[in-house]
Amino acid sequence: MLNTRTLVGSIALALSAAAPLQADTLRLAIMGEPASLDPHKISGTWENDVVGDLFEGLVTEAADGSRIPGVAESWEVSADGTVYTFTLRDDAKWSDGEPVTADDFVFAFQRILAPATAANYAYLLYPVKNAEAVYAGDAETSTLGIEALDATTLQITLERSTPYFLDQLSHYTAYPLPSHTVETYGNDWSQPDNMVSNGAFQLDEWQSQTRITASRNPYFHDVDNVALEEVVYYPIEERNTALNRFRAGEIDIAREFPTQRYDWLMDNLPEAVQVAPYLGIYYYAFNTRNGHPTADPRVREALSLAVRREVITDQILGTGEVPAYSFVPPNVSHYEAPTLSFAELSQDERLERARDLLQEAGYGPDNPLELMLRYNTSEDHRKVAIALAAMWKPLGVEVDLFNSEVAVHYSDIRQGDFDVARAGWIGDYNDAQNFLSLLESNVANNYGAYSSAEFDALMSEAANTQDMDARAELMAEAEAIALEDSATLPIYYYVSRNLVSPDLEGWETNIEDIHRSRWIHFDN
């Protein structure tokens, strides 16, 4: 009898020991394995989740995503908006106790712009004076517009006034690096044994494809307000697995859930579902190059008119996506997007107008419009593509659907091998310029090669305008032109989808879907 009880007891003990669960440990499912934890070698949102807890820039994100002072205590901006002088807080420290100095920022900026670092995202710092020239090797590194005036005073000079620059300083491309350890360890500085960081948490362990563990950084300047002792990040690519592990109580936050399970979640775990507008647009590019039917603006408008966006968002996707009648998503800071002129028309009126336009353009029953539609592999993309083809059918449009995996898709549409093609854009920073610049002539991500001299002129004028309201108006004028030209086919605005345990507090939805663990705590 005693033996049985001992056995039962030891099994119970083994079971409880196998699942260490402390209320001050946050278990977070991130949507992929980080390529690196070096802020200069990453480009994914899941990497941002980890690296953003480990590091802090001059400016940082509050719980609601708004920008607050980080390492910089205060700053002054010159009258022409090109020179920023930051005063660093004197209690900013690396996790080994060394002070974070202005030189650490200079070091980091110079490193990310050095071609040898091969940083994907180096171009986000191009607003800094001479950054592009330094990257291209046309200017000396020392000419880069960043200078340490003394240990706690940093001056950054820009090419020209860039209103979103302060926001961008919270991005990982603008984090300081611990120059003292990078110089010692070289590229191995970001390995768990070597890494020191200046954020609320410090790296303890990284088991590739398994978990990353970070603990509270005792040297963090606001450590007294950090409730969590430890954060464990589990890379889980499979969204259903993340959902199951959330349901089993193995994780506290899942940074994404499968769209098909939305209804089930709303019925069963409504208090855990966090869906919010996200800084992104799902659209189709029209190929405006000569020789494509979509080079004709009437054809583009007709196609856009016939798309019933509400059907796509409500019936086909149904996870809170918002129908899009503009290219720049709503809630972008300091911007009011114009809307497509036909937004107010009824569906019948839209279809009628679409028919007239196609007829004008020379298409009809004898000469049907034939389109090649490309989309990249995904269940949702497929559904939307099929829906578009069905919605265009009443206009007599014949659509050939081409599906390919993502690398092939983008390499093909960049070569212009399509009439209409699925695309999407998630803002790099919360500013309308980041979206509208996709429609400027000859830029890399302008898949459809849309080109309007008027649009370009307004965008360039906006770039040289310091007054935020005037700048917003110029950009809105530019967007109105692009909408009038049906430069693209906006379909819906993205939403962020998180599962957050109801036991947690401090989670606030925000348009950039940025959530730093320092603000989160367990509800006791």
């Binding site: 070096d38 091969a118 398994t210 259903n240 199951n244 592990r245 193995e250 092939v408 960049r414």
Partner: protein, 309 residues
């Protein structure tokens, strides 16, 4: 035996070379590159990235560089996982896949062989139909259905076992993936075992053994089992190589840090060095296990001897 083994190993070199060469050029023929994605990089950034990975050179030059490095045992850096070399990724992932795969194969043999034998002995009885019906279901239901079902039932509803994760190979984390991985193998092995057992039981030497008056147990264990296992053994070569290099589906669903996931992911990411690394590794393993199986064959079947060749 030794000369045969050596000969086979030498033969493997041109085989592997052909596999590597074909894969290398096919991979570069595939449209899209490692830096093609939703957002195109500014041209100077892309050019710099291509140059830093040597991708700006002609493909044949890249091929010779790759082969040169490979001969020195260097599989190159991963394009995607920038903090790791391909060798490190394989070295980290393989032990996990190996452990999982060995348990799964072990379980499959342990359950599949007796199932097949019992079904063969009770041929056309209810027991036979039940066993073979179960096996048929096991073959028919793909593991991407079984695995989430297991996770849902034992992980979420009953909460007996973790839904996912590896937890350094803790036995509780291993049960569900091992079972999910082995179900199909159990089914295959049971069906194969039943068929070959029935054939062996009808052969002359078994009849002779029975005529000698041996007990049924002795007939089966001493005489019938060994020859009946031959088809299973030859199936095991590729099966083991496949199962211990990981299952894409199982590793994804249970979040296991093996190398199975790299096979598909690396190809989709156009992570050229990682694609090649997994091809080289997998190719070498298949060659090795086929050799082991052939050697085992000769140990089990006295009619096959390699020394005479």
């Amino acid at each position: 035996m030794l000369s045969y083994t050596l000969k086979r190993l030498l033969q493997a070199i041109p085989t592997l070379w052909i596999v590597i060469t074909l894969s290398f050029f096919l991979m570069h023929l595939a449209p899209g590159g490692p830096f093609d994605g939703e957002r195109q990089l500014p041209p100077e950034i892309e050019a710099n990235l291509l140059a830093s990975y040597g991708l700006d050179k002609p493909v044949w030059a890249q091929y010779f560089t790759y082969m040169g490095n490979l001969l020195q045992g260097d599989l190159g850096p991963s394009f995607k996982y920038k903090d790791f070399s391909v060798t490190e990724l394989v070295a980290q992932g393989f032990p996990v896949s190996l452990e999982l795969g060995m348990w799964a194969i072990g379980l499959a043999l342990l359950v599949g062989i007796p199932m097949g034998v019992i079904a063969a002995l009770k041929r056309n009885s209810t027991v036979d139909y039940m066993v073979m019906g179960t096996a048929l279901a096991g073959v028919a239901i793909p593991n991407f259905v079984i695995a989430p079902l297991l996770a849902l039932v034992f992980g979420v509803f009953l909460a007996w076992l973790p839904v996912g994760g590896w937890n350094d190979g803790h036995w509780k984390n291993m049960i569900l993936p091992v079972v999910a991985l082995s179900i199909q193998q159990i089914a295959y092995i049971a069906r194969m075992m039943r068929a070959s057992m029935i054939e062996v039981l009808g052969s002359h030497f078994v009849r002779t053994a029975r005529a000698k008056g041996l007990s049924e147990i002795a007939v089966i264990f001493r005489h019938a089992l060994r020859p009946a296992m031959l088809p299973v053994i030859s199936y095991l070569g590729p099966a083991i190589a496949g199962i211990i290099t990981g299952s894409v589906v199982i590793e994804q669903i249970f979040g296991i840090p093996g190398i199975g996931r790299y096979f598909v992911q690396a190809a989709l990411n156009r992570d050229y060095t990682l694609v090649m690394g997994t091809v080289v590794f997998y190719g070498a393993l298949i060659v090795l296990f086929n050799l082991i199986v052939d050697l085992l064959y000769s140990a089990l079947d006295p009619q096959i001897r390699y020394d005479n060749e």
